[in-house]
Symmetry: C2
Subunit: 351 residues, 2 copies
């Protein structure tokens, strides 16, 4: 089914690159032998690693890159000086049609800037958005966006995020009609910022093709009240990081509790398999792979600190997206939106 799918990999991006990257490719290649990879980076280091990863080696071609963009480099600097780096070349592979998607665990700001510069935004999209997944009480994963590509978003941009997030959720989860809502401080119509109320109105007016449920609150993310939670990049970034921080805190307190004495340790040992399941569920590696949506190309961001299994999960996201119709679905809904917002725009210009 994935026949002919080629993934462009930034071999040098991430806290533990290139080791975890090659190990992650190995897991993905074993899982799906039809995948092909172009791994960009230091050829001698990558080849040495591939010698120890049979599946990755059989599926990969190494493309040498002279440079690596460090995790601390600013986006503007990456744009000026990044040419010839593993990240730059990995994006170029998608731009020139050699690959169907790029996956990188590298510097987020640099990755977004280079992707936007090289691939450009899709027609009808004002600003791309970063979409992440978060575990919910339903057993699935909620898509939340924007989690940091932009600091602000007006009503129309929020609707574009909703359209892109809905297509993303359908592609990764296989849900036919994911439910969508705007993140707000209350469920009532009159609550929140003007932008959010405008977005809700526009989704209804434009006849955007989605199961739109209005407003949800912060605790609805983990509850899984809806499948897609839409917000601006400032709020989304803070919500996601607050959730991550809290999950880490509870995990740490649980670990402390279960090592606090011999009885607790014995109990933890006996309950180990059950606790392990919980750990997997909340492990960011399980749901790794954020999508940089709205570009002419499929761009997947892995957590910088992801392990091999986490990187393989991000590759899995790229795979499912590449095999889906998400771009056509987004385009169709953007057309509906353009129809509804054009008169408003004209009114604004003449008014």
């Amino acid at each position: 089914m994935a026949d002919g799918l080629v993934l462009s990999i930034d071999g040098m991006g991430g806290d533990h690159a290139p080791d975890t990257v090659v190990a992650g490719v190995d897991i993905a290649a074993r899982r799906n032998p039809a995948l092909r990879f172009i791994i960009h980076g230091d050829a001698s280091r990558l080849s040495a690693l591939l010698a120890h990863h049979h599946y990755a080696k059989a599926a990969s071609e190494v493309a040498h890159a002279e440079k690596t963009i460090g995790m601390e480099v600013k986006a503007s600097q990456a744009l000026r000086q990044g040419k010839g780096s593993s990240l730059w070349n990995a994006v170029a592979s998608v731009e020139n049609g050699q690959a169907n998607a790029i996956v990188s665990a590298g510097n987020t700001g640099a990755f977004m800037a280079i992707s936007m510069f090289r691939l450009r935004t899709m027609e009808g999209v004002h600003r791309p958005a970063l979409a992440a997944r978060w575990p919910s009480a339903t057993g699935g994963y909620v898509v939340i966006l924007d989690v940091g590509a932009n600091v602000e978003a007006d009503g129309e941009q929020l609707v574009e995020f909703a359209i892109m997030g809905e297509a993303f959720q359908r592609a990764v989860s296989g849900k036919d009609r994911p439910t969508v809502a705007l993140l707000n401080v209350g469920a009532e119509e009159q609550k929140g910022h003007e932008e959010i109320r405008a977005a809700a109105q526009l989704i209804r007016d434009a006849g955007v093709d989605m199961d739109f449920r209005g407003f949800v609150e912060g605790d609805d993310i983990a509850k899984g009240t809806v499948d897609v939670v839409v917000t601006d990049g400032f709020t989304g970034n803070i919500a996601l990081k607050t959730g991550e921080g809290t999950a880490r805190l509870v995990g740490q307190l649980l670990k402390e509790a279960l090592t606090s004495g011999p009885l607790a340790q014995l109990g933890a040992l006996i309950a180990y398999p059950a606790l392990q399941k919980l750990r997997t569920r909340m492990d960011p590696g399980t749901f790794n792979g954020a999508l940089f949506l709205g570009l002419n190309g499929l761009v997947v961001k892995s957590h910088g600190g992801a392990n091999a299994r986490g990187f393989a999960a991000a590759i899995g996201v790229a795979e499912r997206m590449a095999l889906s119709h998400y771009r056509d679905e987004i385009k169709a809904n953007l057309l509906r939106l353009a129809g509804a917002s054009a008169p408003k725009q004209a009114a604004k210009e003449t008014g």
Copy 2:
């Protein structure tokens, strides 16, 4: 030490009122027999409950109120029709000097509206803020504000929130110099909204007397990187609720894991005391009691669903605040701020 402290209690506010309210007063009165309470509400129901709560009965006087404001009533409606209700009368007890503070688990919007209407904002405060506490990895509690009194805040208002939150943290934790930061999407100076950058600049320019640490991110809340996290009411509300939702999700998954089979159950039984400690730490009842800061009166909001122990915790917050010098500290810092922002304001008006 608490000699002469009188607390005005909304006997009818909250999901389980008046039962949990009276039971909470009982816990607080047993802990500190010097406290006095005026409990507002249905006199016959309250008296019947007090008959079974010895400590509460000895310390309380019941003030009959004809009405109760329901949890679903809108703030505007509560303002128009709330006169004579237990909530309204409880606020009035503070306004007319009968009590040092009010504690209510009732309708948040109505509580804020009535408090603001009756008590008015402190001189130098543009908008009051709702401040909550959240457990952190340091073992203490982070103060976060605003968590929902206002949807927006400009730079100067954020500085006012910082001043009020710092004084709150000092009063409840006893920390002499709590550290303070603004919630942002990155630690770098140039990140985030204009309002946040303006606030950081103003705190430095005004020589506000606090240990200001610049910007923190969402995951720093649970890490406890600083003692006070300052943000606008929209972002703060969503961050707090996302954190609460995540903590609840992990708790639920843990419970599911530990009841998933006989071995897991045995392990949980053996580790029970340790797990109980974790539960207490993350139980919202332990750190219950949000403060509505910036009014001419001490206003404490308990979670609507808090149990008796949680309500007693909220009373504890009122107690510590009433015995502190938080108002004088806030006033002194507001004077510094007024000195620094006055010239800017003048420049804006002439410019």
